[in-house]
Amino acid sequence: MTRMAAVSEQSAPALRGKIAIWWVIASEVMIFGGAVGSYIMARAASPGWSAEAAHLSTSLATINTFVLLTSSMTMAMAFAAYQKDDRRGVQKFLLLTILLGLAFLGIKAYEYTSHIMEGAAPWSGPFWAFYYLLTGLHALHIIAGVVVNFILLLAAGSGLSTGYRIEIAGLYWHFVDIVWIFLFPLLYLSH
């Protein structure tokens, strides 16, 4: 009896973390779902937004999509390295993921700056309000992911005893990536 209980307590941390992150992702889906749904409804109701949407730089966003997809790949490679007990590999790929996340934020910041210089601020109209809302919420999630990955990078330096967390962080990171896959066509490609 004690043994059974002990086993169920032992197997817990990785499993608990994974189940918890799926619930977190479910609630995040609803946050982005609410925002994206509002955007789609509002845009369907008022046809005049394509001129503003045409101001966005599709090429920068395409580069950013590529950057983010690559970062998902490096995140998966960090987990693969953990499964092979390869500490250097874990550190290398986590660092790459962080750098790619920062590159995404850098390009996003450049986009924001150029829009605002052109006079397209959040208060410049409904399209811009939604643009800043959606990309801003997403950028906040990228920042959170970068922070988490950085903590894992530091932890990997002192051994991989809690390396199962890489998979949990990876699930979150892939989710944030997928959100972008929705935002990219909805904002940049639908003129």
Partner: protein, 578 residues
Amino acid sequence: MSNPPRVAPSPSPVAQASHGERGFWRTFIFSTDHKTIAKQYLSLGIFMAFVGGYLAYVMRWQLAFPDTSIPGFGFVGPETYNAIVTNHGTIMVFFVAMPILLGSFGNFLIPLMIGARDMAFPRLNMLSFWILAVSALIILTTFFIPGGAASAGWTGYAPLSARAEYTGVNWGINLWLLAHALEFASFLMGGVNFLTTAITMRAPGMTFFRLPLVIWQLLTASVIFLLSVGPLIAAAVMLLMDRLLETSFFVPEGGGDPMLWEHLFWFFGHPEVYVILLPGLGAALEVLAVFSRKPIFGYRWIIYSTITTGVLSMIVWAHHMFVSGMDPRLVMPFSISTILISVPIALIIFSMILTLWKGSIRLTTPMLWALGFIVMFILGGLTGIVLGSAPANIQVHGTYFVVAHFHTVLLSVVIFGGFTGLYFWFPKMFGRMMNEPLGKLHFLLTLIFFNLTFFPMHAVGLAGMPRRIANPLQYEFLTAAQPLNVQITISAIGLIIAQLPFLINFAWSIVAGKKAEPNPWEAATLEWTAPSPPPHDNWGETIPTVYRGPYEYSPPGVREDYLPQDRALTARSAQEKR
């Protein structure tokens, strides 16, 4: 390099608990013990109930005797009245009902009833509570800042809430939104914690269909909270952007749509009702089985009904918006789904009544509250059907009839369901019994004043009195209803005073109540197998093993009239008992 274990060794909870003395701060303030955190939620809820009750008293006095000086407050102008209405609603829903029914009951019951030593993430649990405490502090602070507290209604309808100049309240509403954000963050973390705990940490033998019903209902409540609050979080960000960055998500002049806020608010707002309802319902179900000495009637059907209710609760929200000007084609589907949701709920109430049928009923204080719950909830639920059907709703929308409905139905959950649970689990929480005669007096007074307060509100509403007005006497046609308003106010004060026996009982019993046995009510669920109050790791050395469902009362062939979930029963021991 050392071989990393696939699964990291977790420090044994038993070893953690054996550290023993942890000092005042770690034991009482920044505790990771789910039972202490449950008590913290409870204390916060009771404290905020006083604040909310005080606001209700000020409101009621103003409505009965408009523009007189209110004892203990002073004069209330229309602006202050708006702030009081808003914060009464916000506080009662988010800082009383949720902390007590979901936060306190969930934290206390989930680990104890599933046979776990603590929550899956004890430190996250502590963080959830303290974020809620900060959030409550922010709401209280808004009363003392320049411009005053939020005054756009607890629903914060746009465009009224979307520009500071419309209400004259700037930081009051900004901070109100911030408090909501923190409250949601707190309960999101709490919900993730509840679900992960129940999925991964059940004791050996505790299958999902051996879980007590209150656990199913707490979990369903957590799921519908997790899945419904997202759009409102998005909407809160949008509203804050409207207020701070002058965007126009909800402001028509700038091309926005005020209806969008209503949709996003009620998409959360209606499931929220069930987030509060389900734990209260669960507490009543537990108590009914124990004090009827009978297995619950239709255990699995109650679970299926609970899940159905959860699903349906996500698609009824627009019944709050029948007169908002939304597309009229939406009215019929939402009216149908609203009336449909009464089917699973009625099934659960039916099961409650049939659990009583031919039981050996013990009229203890918790049982009285549970019976009161059934009666009052049916009364409140009936007007829900009235309001759910669009033709009737359009007539009484925005009147006191709506106020009467949701107070009867929601307070039957919070007051009757809440006290059912509190009187029932008090011995487990604090290790002492509460005083029965005082508890029964509390029940009787509350039942009487509850009905005297909220029943006449239906009549005032049907007489045409609108919600949220500071002075009914400014309308000629309402002078006839004014005596009723006075009577409601007097009864409401009575309802507040009726809580005194509870407070005395509660405080006195914690200090000097009779010491409680581990299982004073002869109940079969797992929490009663732990000592009262349970130690930090709940069961000492061995976690109980579960052999059967939670409601084995009066089984044939056993001498006592119940079988605890953790008792192994071989063929021989059953024979010996004969």
